[in-house]
Structure formats: structure tokens, C-alpha cells
């Protein structure tokens, strides 16, 4: 489940350089300068049609090559050909990639190939063939769900192996967009499962950007679903005879369920998370940046914020202010929490930070944030 290079400049004993301990594969470094050119040369000769290799040899050689250097695009491309010809199970490449990423967590070619493989797998969804060999069996929806979960794990591990791992987090977003279809459930699950991780990696801008992506997708989802709900209602009123009852009831129930995403609460929690982290870990620009944008989200989201009515600057707010007002009164009735969220709170927080912090960067960020608040909110 993991590969690595064992620093060992000379072969002292006449034995294999491959070391396997507790499911972890190690290669003694002295052999690389012999092994890599050898396998590389063999593959290049094959590609130039000067030396034939059969399918098993190709699989072995590319596997070896990619574990030593996963950015060797040609090797991945040979495997693409093997997959397309039905000789290689695409799931094997997911496993190979995962292994390569334990040592090379950024490797762009590995992530790119991974997306190609996943695209193949989604297309194959309707065709049994190779898919049944990989024992994911099960119904397509369940299969996809498991693939998504596995990808989340792979991304998470790679993100932990290299700070601000752009490629890992980009892949994670891609998977949600293309495999996870950005359902509310997936978005909320990801929001809760990454909360601890980002708290342990407070400078990881990519991690926090991911949370912005989740929050914005949720906002987009809520707006779309409420629009769809309204449209459905209009259609129902106009053409009751055309409705298949089950379908419309199901769709409306789904919309209603998704409509009940408590966006204000999630945004509030996000802001609380930022505040906590900023307090505990002074001087991290990412946290301030994230805080900025979360407040921005809550201002512009039609379903949230008392500021929306007071300001009334957005066309968006104007058209949905009725809905916003209803949501807002519900919130007020639920608990006297309106004071815990808003510009006054932010100003108090900034003043507290400025008066107590001893970190120059922290003070700089706090001052900039205050300036932004003043400009942005005009208060």
C-alpha cells in the first residue's frame, strides 16, 4: 500500500534490492540507475517498433517504470492502449496510481491518467464486460459512490503528503463535479469530513479553497432547487393532467429535502471555524482570506443574512428578498442568534485580535480585513 526508495548507495550483498515489509514496497537506491534506463529503453524500443513486447511484458515494464517515475507519460499511454483493447483492467491503474502517489503525491501525469481511467469507468457503467472482473459488482449507483469515496481517500492522503497540493485538491473537485454530480448529500458529507483536516493544516490554501468550492456549490444547489421547485409548482398548476403523480411527488420531495439545507447555519459555522483558527494560529493569510470570502458568500446568498435586507444592493437579493425574509424570521424565532453573525461581530473580533496579538502578520491581515469590511459594507 506504499512505495519508497531506500537510500543505499552500494550493493553490499548479493541479494535482491526489492524489500517488502508489512505490505510496503521498498527499492534500494543503488539499483535504480541500472533498472530505470533498462526498462525505459525497452519501452522506447517497443514504441519505435524495433522490439516487440507482449502484453504481460508491457504491463510489467510500464508498472516498474511508473513506480520509479510516474510522470513518464508514454508509459501511462501504453497502459491506456492496453485498457482500450480490453487486456488490462482499469481498476489496476487506479491501484497503481494510488501506489505511485504515496511517493509522488503531486505527479501531474498520474492524476491526469486517473481522470482518464475514471471517465472510462463511468462510460462502461452500462456495459458489464471488464467491470465485473473488478469485484465492485453491485448496482451502478453504488459502484459510483464507492469510486467517489475511494477518490476522496486518495486525494486526502496525497494532500497530507505535500502542503497545498494543488493537483490533489483539483482532482477532488473534478471527482465531485463529474462522478459525484454535486449532490447535496455529497457536498455536506465532504464539508464535515474535511473540517478536521483543515484545522490541522491551517496554511493549506488548497484545502480551504475546497471548502469554498463546497459552500458555493451548496449555495448554487439551493438556488437551483428552489427555482426548480417553483417551476414544478407552476407546471403542476397549469397542467395537472400531464403529471405522473409519483414522479412529481418524488421530485418535489427531493427538492423539499434539499431545500431544507440550512445554508445560514453552515456559513455561520464556517465563520466560527475561521474565527477559532485565526485565534489559535496567528498570522495565516489563508484563514483571513477564507473568512473574507465566507462573509461575502453569506451577504450575497439569497437565503441568508440580515444584511441582505438592510443593504438591498443586490438585484439577486431584491428578487428573492421575500424568501430571504421568511428564512430570516424563522432563524430569529429559532434562537436569539442574530448577534452572533454580522459585521458588528466581525469588527469586535478584529479589535480583539489587534489589541491582543503580537504577530506582525496577524496584525497586518486584521487591518486589511477591517479595511475590506469598511469598503465592502460601507459602514
Amino acid at each position: 500500500d506504499e512505495i519508497g526508495l531506500i537510500p543505499c548507495p552500494e550493493a553490499r550483498y548479493n541479494r535482491s534490492p526489492i524489500v517488502l515489509v508489512e505490505n510496503k514496497l521498498g527499492v534500494e537506491s543503488w539499483c535504480v540507475k541500472f533498472l530505470l534506463p533498462y526498462v525505459h529503453n525497452k519501452l522506447v524500443l517497443y514504441r519505435q517498433r524495433r522490439q516487440w513486447l507482449n502484453k504481460d511484458e508491457l504491463i510489467d515494464i510500464t508498472c516498474t517504470l511508473l513506480l520509479l517515475n510516474p510522470d513518464f507519460t508514454t508509459a501511462w499511454n501504453v497502459r491506456k492502449e492496453l485498457i482500450l483493447s480490453g487486456t488490462l483492467n482499469p481498476l489496476k491503474d487506479l491501484h497503481l496510481g494510488k501506489l505511485a502517489l504515496t511517493k509522488f503525491p503531486k505527479s501531474p501525469e498520474t492524476w491526469i491518467h486517473r481522470r482518464w481511467v475514471l471517465q472510462q469507468l463511468i462510460q462502461e457503467n452500462s456495459l458489464p464486460s471488464l467491470v465485473t472482473k473488478g469485484n465492485l459488482g453491485a448496482a451502478p449507483v453504488e459502484r459510483i459512490h464507492r469510486l467517489v469515496q475511494e477518490e476522496m481517500n486518495v486525494c486526502s492522503e496525497a494532500a497530507g503528503r505535500y502542503p497545498s497540493n494543488y493537483n490533489a485538491w483539483s482532482h477532488r473537485i473534478w471527482v465531485l463535479q463529474h462522478l459525484g454530480k454535486l449532490t447535496v448529500k455529497v457536498l455536506l458529507d465532504e464539508l464535515s469530513s474535511t473540517k478536521y483536516w483543515v484545522s490541522m493544516h491551517v496554511s493549506d490554501h488548497s484545502g480551504f479553497h475546497y471548502r469554498q468550492f463546497l459552500l458555493k456549490s451548496l449555495i448554487g444547489r439551493t438556488v437551483t432547487d428552489s427555482n426548480v421547485l417553483v417551476q414544478n409548482q407552476i407546471i403542476n398548476e397549469q397542467n395537472p393532467s400531464l403529471q405522473k403523480e409519483e414522479e412529481s411527488a418524488g421530485a418535489e420531495a427531493a427538492c423539499a429535502e434539499e431545500q431544507s439545507v440550512d445554508l445560514p447555519r453552515h456559513l455561520e459555522e464556517e465563520l466560527e471555524l475561521c474565527t477559532e483558527l485565526i485565534d489559535s494560529y496567528p498570522g495565516h493569510e489563508t484563514l483571513w482570506c477564507h473568512s473574507d470570502e465566507t462573509l461575502n458568500n453569506s451577504h450575497h446568498s439569497p437565503a441568508t443574512s440580515p444584511m441582505a435586507q438592510a443593504m438591498d444592493v443586490d438585484g439577486l437579493n431584491e428578487s428573492s428578498s421575500k424568501q430571504g425574509y421568511t428564512q430570516e424570521t424563522k432563524r430569529l424565532k429559532r434562537a436569539p442568534m442574530q448577534d452572533s453573525f454580522g459585521p458588528e461581530v466581525e469588527y469586535r473580533f478584529i479589535d480583539k485580535v489587534l489589541s491582543t496579538c503580537r504577530d506582525a502578520d496577524q496584525a497586518r491581515f486584521a487591518t486589511a480585513y477591517r479595511k475590506w469590511l469598511v469598503t465592502f459594507l460601507g459602514q
Partner: protein, 234 residues
């Protein structure tokens, strides 16, 4: 980037750069490209590899430069882009970081600082009257200090930051960034700011193509004189 390869903002820039220099640029070739690039700009103000991704110096340069070539830079929110890129100059090191909360890196001397001439031009075209006529909107001397003092390898060549080893990529982009930092504008408006002695002075580089302006002119002239290839196969 290549047949069967990944799709991101870099390839749009490569394509626009090549097509414009070789005079094969047509609206059909880039139909929808400008709008796609604009979608890569995110809430941070910078541009990511594909829509939805984190803002990143390299991709931001490629996106902006491609839009400049396509004459569609106004599809971007230039104000938030300006805010993002100027925040990327490190107040201690003087060099630029590639993304928020990351370390400085010599190559971003070009990818990030190189955005400011492009922005300057775009804002000027829009009639902005607050623009300087002598300097770009970043600290030119601080960047030059970072490159000259921290990014040189004693054996020759340039690098990311002290402690890293030299390579051609960093040599290219540290030098390109140095050229950007030394030269403001062109023609009548040209204004130089060279840190240290005259031996430090580099030739100006073209902010879109990153080759000298003379070479850009020669390339364009050369291809204008060639017959434009037809789309039909021979």
C-alpha cells in the same frame, strides 16, 4: 495540451500565442475560448487551471495573456485580478508567491509580475486615469533585489529560492521577471529602473509572448508575408 491529454488554461495560451504569431488566428478557431477562460477566474480574483480550481500564478498569466491576444480581457473582473496579483508580492522577500499562503518562488517573478504590464494596458484602454506613467503596480526594485540577491547560483544559472538547485526553467523565468521589473512601457513612455550597475540591465521582454519585442515584430511580419494555409486537406 496534446491529443488525449489534459485540458487547462495553458493550452489556450499556447494556441493563442502560436496562432497570433503565425497569422492563422480566426474567430472560428477560438470560438468560446475567451468565455471559457473567463470562467476560470474565481472568487479569489486570480485564475485557475479549469473553472472551479484554485487561483494560481502560472494559470493566471496564461489566461490573461490569452485574453489579451484574443482582445477579450474585459471579460475578466480586472479589479479583483489586480487585487489578487498585487497581494502575491511577498512583503519580506520582495519576490512573488504562486498562490496565497505559499512560499516565494523565483519563477513567479514572471508569471505574477508579468500580469501587471498586461493589466496596466487593459485598464489604460478602459480609460483609467489613475494609472502611473512611470511604473508598474508592483514594487519593481524589491523584485529585482530578490532575483539578484537570492536567486542566483554561484556556478551560473538561476533558481527558485536559496537552497534549491538551478534549472533552465527557473533561469528563464527569473530573467524574464527581471526584465519586466526593469522596464516600464515602450517607445515614448519607456522608463527604466535598474537595480545596481548598468551590467545588470537586461533587454526588455514582450509581456504577452515573453520574447523580445523585435522578435515579435519580425515573426508577425514574416508570417504576414506567407500565404495563409487553407483548412481543406491537401
Amino acid at each position: 495540451m496534446h491529443v488525449g491529454g489534459e485540458v487547462d488554461v495553458r493550452s489556450a495560451y499556447c494556441a493563442a500565442s502560436v496562432a497570433s504569431l503565425t497569422n492563422i488566428l480566426t474567430p472560428a478557431l477560438f470560438a468560446g475560448t475567451a468565455e471559457w477562460i473567463a470562467r476560470c477566474q474565481n472568487w479569489e480574483g486570480g485564475i485557475g487551471g479549469v473553472p472551479g480550481m484554485e487561483a494560481h500564478g502560472g494559470y493566471t498569466f496564461c489566461g490573461m495573456a490569452a485574453l489579451v491576444i484574443l482582445k477579450k480581457e474585459h471579460l475578466l473582473n480586472l479589479r479583483s485580478l489586480l487585487r489578487w496579483v498585487t497581494s502575491r508580492q511577498m512583503c519580506f522577500e520582495g519576490g512573488f508567491q504562486g498562490r496565497c499562503n505559499k512560499l516565494v518562488d523565483g519563477c513567479y517573478s514572471f508569471w505574477q509580475a508579468g500580469l501587471l504590464p498586461l493589466l496596466h494596458r487593459a485598464l489604460h484602454a478602459r480609460g483609467d486615469t489613475a494609472l502611473s506613467m512611470e511604473r508598474w503596480m508592483f514594487h519593481q526594485l524589491a523584485l529585482q533585489e530578490y532575483i539578484l540577491l537570492c536567486c542566483q547560483c554561484p556556478a551560473g544559472g538561476l533558481l527558485d529560492k536559496p537552497g534549491k538547485s538551478r534549472d533552465f526553467y527557473h533561469t528563464c523565468y527569473c530573467l524574464s521577471g527581471l526584465a519586466i521589473a526593469q522596464h516600464f512601457g515602450s517607445g515614448d513612455l519607456h522608463h527604466e529602473v535598474v537595480l545596481g550597475g548598468p551590467e545588470n540591465r537586461l533587454q526588455a521582454t514582450h509581456p504577452v509572448y515573453n520574447i523580445t519585442p523585435e522578435k515579435v515584430a519580425r515573426a508577425v511580419m514574416h508570417f504576414l508575408q506567407q500565404p495563409v494555409p487553407s483548412l481543406e486537406p491537401a
